[in-house]
Subunit: 391 residues, 2 copies
């Protein structure tokens, strides 16, 4: 079969705030091939990612993403890799291309799986999808009281692991950070898995991050996530040597090289990959293989919908020992409504990927409709993009 | 003074081909502050870079570039660095942001220099702008005969150094590549500096690149440029050890980390930075300082206008020993006409940056007018961008 059409749907909450909550808008991709429909989702700026799909060519190495995708043969996973490789050269100078392509690549796996009647994880070579322990991923509250309440809420909802991140953490005093951490631990209880996400706040300042290591040890945090900018591999490496707490990072990786370099030079205990940014499921699986070889734990990065969640778990679905899995606990309604189903924890508090074909979760046109953003892009006398019909 | 306005002008040739010729379109930035006008140029997809300036916010770490720029105080180079640092966190998840910001950052230096009556290189701490030896940067011809003629043309125009790149090189047989290289050397003569640009064609295939090392040695090439993808640092490192020819690379760097990592892990002899991609002049100067410390030669990457050429030479203007400088020999007319003046070789065949304030070269509204692309971007019921007036 051939790729006949690719459509982008920009969805948004009516109001988007400057909170570090990535579920406030979404970019859903619908791909048609051989009479089948596949879905994907970019974890990226919707408007900019759409522009990268439709933009006029600037030269041979700065072509729109569409040029590497439309009309291409799609008969096997090898075809997906071939298209991805062509894109790397065709759109070498188009920085946004990796983010745009990520959702398309997911949709290719989905459509291929649906055509074959196979789940994606099986096409990746896994024999089964192992249960994962979801951690409730949430933002720090504006104050310790709110953080305590949120942590208690996650425990009441059945979670044994939580991650608190962003918000005021790292932006004020050491004492304020310590209060936040103790509130999170108190709400979670002494035995739960506590993860902490600094959201790159210390940039490349190893000392500023190191000042928080004792308090992180005190609350028995399992990891400190993204202390530094995405490319600051050496700073990760320097901090890794300073304390006993494992580092986590990698969500900013927009290609396999970046994830590998973070592993090799930053020595994190956990490598976190967002399939909606790294170029999709294929490159994420390469990182998972590399992580296994290097003794690093692979974890998905997901702060959006369960369509994105399914895609981001596929690459490590078959790794029984890579157990922890990010799970957005309170996404905005757009992220819930856009998918036709949800991946819910079972009685053991664990989640398992669907055994249905493709991603096992589709986008819901009716669910998306209330959030659909009207977009029009015109250049060089042509209309390059208008919001397509959901029907 | 404060940044009052930033305008983007997308310029294009009437026809854009898939040749590896980056001068076929341009994105010019006009920045107004305190009654002064500064100019910059992004070496990037114009439409996508504009979209990254105006896009709706997705969340606190995925904001449009405009949010970090408009209304900001601009009194010193430190203010420019502060704005750049804020952008890194505010637009952390907006991949295109670095390309968009690059032209804005140049325009900040330009406007600051014009307000102070100082050239940019002096604000960077250099006492003088040393002459550079320009190399004529051209594409390989479709066949060796065309390459020979182009090389002879460059010599006739007074160039002592040429770079041939892209086109058929690396895409066919070893014999065809050897023929191209010998044609270039023959046209240049035995004493000229011959540089070869592979345009990432071997991706991460060290063996494929290594097969060309003997023929490169035979024609006495000074460097082999971009054998691999921009992030393939280890592959650069592996090839560096395999032969005596120096490697060159770095034009794909969209932050200082990438350039430093290429130097540290790829061991190139030459680090090539495009100020229109790495975030502007400030980060490029950081790379130049790093290159000096590591004994690596800094070279500008420029395949567009002389406005971009001026910006890209500023960061190493004061480094007397870093002599070679990329100089586009046959850019498309848009790249010539958009600037109000050109940097021409003197009687010694050398070029020197203007001593006028700022970049010393401004964009020419009248020169840009015939190439101006009409663009309109609408989303969420608002017009986010329409092509601004050149007046």
């Amino acid at each position: 079969m051939k790729i006949d059409a690719v459509d982008f749907f920009y969805l948004s909450m009516p109001v988007v705030t400057d909170a570090g909550d990535g579920s406030q808008d979404a970019l859903v991709v619908r791909l048609s091939a051989g009479g089948h429909i596949g879905w994907g989702e970019c974890e990226a700026s919707p408007l900019v990612s759409i522009a990268a799909y439709v933009c006029p060519m600037s030269h041979g190495a700065c072509r729109p993403v569409a040029d590497s995708v439309l009309g291409r043969s799609l008969a096997s996973p090898a075809d997906i890799a071939l298209i991805a490789a062509d894109l790397e050269l065709n759109s070498m100078d188009l920085l946004q291309a990796a983010h745009t392509f990520s959702g398309i690549e997911m949709a290719m796996w989905d459509v291929l799986g649906r055509a074959r009647g196979e789940p994606v994880w099986r096409m990746l070579g896994y024999k089964r999808a192992y249960p994962k322990t979801p951690y409730a991923s949430m933002l720090f509250g504006d104050n310790p009281t709110d953080t305590l309440a949120a942590a208690r809420g996650a425990v009441a909802a059945g979670f044994r692991a939580i991650k608190c991140g962003w918000g005021p953490f790292g932006r004020s005093t050491l004492a304020a950070d310590a209060d936040q951490l103790h509130a999170a631990r108190e709400g979670l209880g002494p035995d739960g898995i506590l993860l902490v996400d600094a959201g790159q706040i210390w940039r490349d300042d190893v000392e500023a991050a190191a000042l928080r290591l004792p308090m992180l040890a005190e609350v028995k945090a399992t990891w400190l996530e993204e202390p530094f900018l995405a490319h600051a591999y050496e700073e990760y490496g320097a901090l890794s040597k300073r304390g006993s707490i494992a580092l986590a990072g990698g969500e900013g990786a927009h290609n396999v090289f970046m994830a590998r370099h973070l592993i090799d030079y930053g020595h994190p205990g956990f490598i976190q990959i967002d399939c909606g940014r790294i170029g999709g499921i294929g490159p994420a699986k390469q990182v998972a293989d590399y992580a296994v070889a290097k003794g690093v734990n692979y974890v998905n990065h997901t702060f959006t919908s369960h369509l994105a969640l399914s895609a981001s778990i596929q690459p490590f679905a078959g790794l029984a020992d890579h157990k922890i899995c990010e799970y957005p606990i309170s996404p905005k309604s757009v992220a819930v409504d856009l998918a036709d189903s949800q991946i819910l924890p079972d009685a053991n508090g664990e989640i398992v990927l669907p055994y249905g074909p493709g991603l096992g979760i589709a986008a819901s046109p009716e669910g998306m409709r209330p959030y659909l953003v009207d977009v029009e892009i015109r250049a060089k006398g042509r209309t390059l993009y208008t919001t397509p019909s959901l029907n």
